[in-house]
């Protein structure tokens, strides 16, 4: 029995596959986590692109831990959902693309958050963001939107094996 087959036999995977509500409870958690992480990243991106200039950038340093809780919720619910159907998902292009976009989206956010903190004039509200930050903000918007779209496509293409 290989690893992915073994995963589908774990207690949590059986719960997803066999209980009445396990699958929906996890999907609901995954949607709430998405709203927190993607939503927070969208707000960071539009602020860097020039919306809501009165909002101090320091606010986002308080928002990041909240976004991390959303990310943790989705890593947890996502891992269990994957365990229940890993054999199929591993070969589902939308799933692979989603993971790639989350990884790249994460890199973009880290680079953006770092760049913003180093850009004193922008951070303190004396100048607009650098071109580099704006490009990273657009990448953040695109990659996290892409991850949401890919997630939906998984729902439309998923079969159980």
């Amino acid at each position: 029995m290989n690893f992915l087959e073994g995963l589908q036999q774990t207690v949590m995977a059986r719960w997803v596959l066999e209980s009445d509500y396990g699958f929906y409870i996890l999907l609901a958690g995954h949607a709430v986590g998405m709203a927190v992480v993607a939503g927070a990243m969208f707000m960071l991106a539009i602020r860097v692109l020039g919306y809501g200039k009165d909002e101090p950038m320091a606010v986002f340093d308080r928002l990041y831990p909240v976004a991390w809780w959303g990310f943790a919720l989705n890593a947890l619910t996502g891992t269990i959902l994957f365990a229940a159907n890993g054999i199929h998902l591993f070969q589902n292009l939308a799933f692979v693309l989603k993971l790639v976009m989350i990884a790249l989206g994460g890199v973009a956010v880290f680079a953006l958050a770092r760049g913003v903190r180093q850009d004193q004039a922008f951070f303190e509200g004396r100048a607009s963001a650098s071109l580099r930050s704006k490009v990273l903000a657009v990448a953040t918007l695109g990659l996290w939107t892409g991850a949401i779209i890919a997630g939906r496509v998984i729902g439309y293409t998923m079969t159980y094996s």
Binding site: Y24, V32, A35, A38, M43, E55, L63, W144, I149, R152
Partner: protein
């Protein structure tokens, strides 16, 4: 009356489009997920400031993001109508759909209270200012109700009858 409205909603140009164009329902659902992220992300910035998780930023700065929340809501009103029009009778017969709509109405009443009684006070807040208990309750309710709306939305298939 109820049946007539549902029948009418199943015959609008939007309804015909969603049923006849194979990919349009999926697009509506996908936009719905994007819109809810915009709505909730904006509410995080507004409501967490008002709840007091941080006191950085003026009240006006927070209010600016309520308009972003409204854009998210508008996206979801349109995309949600698209999904609903695909099979109005099926959605209306679904108890979780009615629960979700009830929760949205409550969130709307909470927003009305925010607009009528809280916004004036919030507009006067400077960075560092704390909010009063009433504002904190309204902001907490906003986050709670929208989380419940998202959860209810994800549970729609559980009690759905027929194809939706």
């Amino acid at each position: 009356m109820e049946t007539q409205i549902l029948d009418w909603m199943a015959q609008t140009p939007l309804a015909h489009a969603v049923r006849n164009i194979s990919w349009l329902f999926a697009v509506c659902e996908t936009v719905h997920f994007f819109g809810l992220s915009v709505l909730f992300g904006a509410l995080l910035l507004v409501d967490l400031r008002l709840v007091g998780l941080w006191k950085l930023g003026s009240g006006r700065a927070a209010i600016a993001f309520t308009y972003v929340a409204m854009i998210g809501f508008a996206l979801n009103l349109i995309s949600g109508l698209g999904c609903f029009s695909n099979n109005p009778a099926s959605y209306w017969a679904n108890p979780i759909f009615k629960l979700k709509m009830g929760l949205i109405v409550l969130a709307g009443l909470n927003l009305l209270w925010f607009e009528l009684y809280e916004k004036r006070k919030i507009a006067l807040l400077a960075t560092g200012d704390a909010t009063d208990l009433e504002t904190r309750i309204v902001a907490s309710l906003s986050l709670l109700l929208w989380v419940l709306v998202i959860i209810a939305g994800r549970f729609l298939p559980v009690t759905a009858t027929g194809s939706s």
